[in-house]
Amino acid sequence: MALTVSHVVGGYSQIPVLKDISFDVRDGELVGLIGLNGAGKSTTINHIIGLLTPHKGEITINGVTIAQDSQAYKQQIAYIPETPVLYQELTLREHLEMTMMAYDLDQEKAWVTAHELLKTFRLDNKLDWFPANFSKGMKQKVMIVCAFLTQAKLFIIDEPFLGLDPLAVNDLLNLIEQRKQRGASILMSTHVLDTAQRYCDRFVLLHSGQVETEGTLSELQAALPEAGESLNDIYLSMTKVDRA
């Protein structure tokens, strides 16, 4: 079990945003974290990457909690934030080197991977530029390259498809597939439901801080037979309950 979130209650202040959330991500699995704006997707992610501490409950990655060994815990995660976050003073090359240093990667091997990734995302001629001045989509690509440079066991990807060109979306999905085959797990939050439906192995549907349902597409269809065939329909029917 790569990631286990069990009975997590938490949020930014004393008022909990997440109300007893439990789900897991298995080895080699791509799980989609689906929910409306404000459903608690980012809060869940912030708890997993260790920015927030749960009020109750526990999060483990391959059996390690952050309290037991924060370095071993963090070593296993690679994170791609929703909005690209970059160091203003570092060039693209230095961002990559910084990632290699932080994750204690073998320089030579890491650079081989890095050059492949840079080529894929057409950034290979921009190594000495400041990515802080790049466009939103290119910044997002830098984030992807940095994350996939690591040999992380768990990738946390927050809404990756917005701002990326179709080619890059395709390349990203290929990368995810490749890492899955090597046994890595991916938790991805997104609103782009038709892509999610095609690529995710399982779904966790969040609604107002709770896990509404989870499972594979066919499990979801079985659980909500009147909702419709596609993830989109299921998702909409789930939110309608609240609106009625």
């Binding site: 160091y87 003073e89 994750y103």
Partner: protein, 408 residues
Amino acid sequence: MIGLFQQRRQRHLREMAKYLRLVFNDFFVFALLFFLGGLGLGYSNVLKQLTTGLWWAPLVALVVLAITAQVGRFATLIEDADRVFLLPKERAMHDYFVVARRYSQWLAQATQLILLFILTPFLRVTLDWSLAQVAGLVVTQVLLKDTLLRLDLASAYQVTGQRRMNHWTVKWGVSLIILAVALWLTPYVAIGLSLVADIAVIVWFQQHWEHQQIRWREQIAIEDNRMLGIYRFFNLFTDVPMVKGTIRRRRYLDGLLRRIPVRHDKTYLYLYSRGMLRGTEFSGLVVRLTVIGMLLLAFIQGQWLPVVLTALFIYLIGFQLLPFFQQYDDIVFTHVYPLTWDQRLGSFVTLVTGILTTTAILLWLVVVAVNHNLVTAGITLVVAAVEVGYLARIYTPQRLKRAAKNKG
């Protein structure tokens, strides 16, 4: 629209008042009075040595007046969001800009008048001018500034193609011609000239603005730049959140930075050193304080005073560096990377040690060069070494640990 400007002006003035109170604290006012007194004394001494008919006198006046004429920018107080929210009100923005220009006049014209007041004795002595002639020059200068601000106003609109009405060549050209006429011919002709220029711009603008679009992006950039200049000034005295500092590539420092090994435990040193050298905020502070310290020490001799001053400057710099530790706190990767807080602290201590050692050596070299005194040089060296060690290796970690603990 006029209401909008008034509202913004009020908010702007309140903000400026807040910062000015901080700038003009007791110490600064005291220092300023001394400085102005000294300057006044020096000026009056220079005036006594001047005679009528010096060939370079009008040239000096010309340069001073032309520079002064450029002081006082067009303050529009427009904001980035305006190009979205006020776009449908584009025609109505004209009234806004007109009021904004009127508001800009106050500070701009006050500057002109103060400078002319200071220059009056110089003109009377060197050019043997009557008060009427000086008055003529005052009118010329005020009209000239009015014209320049009108050019700025006109440039808020997309004037045919890429040409700008307030291009520096235009502004300087107009200023130099009119002022040269005033200084070498007679100020009375210059009044006429500046009046003609002013009216020409008025008429031209009246005929054209309605057929032009506002250059939103440029105007916003200009206004941001203007405000940044003001905030930078305030930032010398107090913390201004709007000043983020800029980033320079500084390729020539790459050789130095490359000396940090690319290794897991040096990750933060890698980041901090690049951030320090390429950002202008903290490195600027260190350089400014070091240079001021060196200049001060260059004029000071004695047994103990250089020692005290050296110690004081090292302390000031070391103290100011502390907030740099938190520079990357709002970047999520600082928390996500598998690195420990202790590694980060260790790197920061190394950085502070490096900076303070460099500063201490520079200050010490000045002390040695000025004093030619082995005892003073020796004492300064020992005191500086002990202080750097204490500040960087004991005080800094203690403070940061306590701050981290309080934060929880």
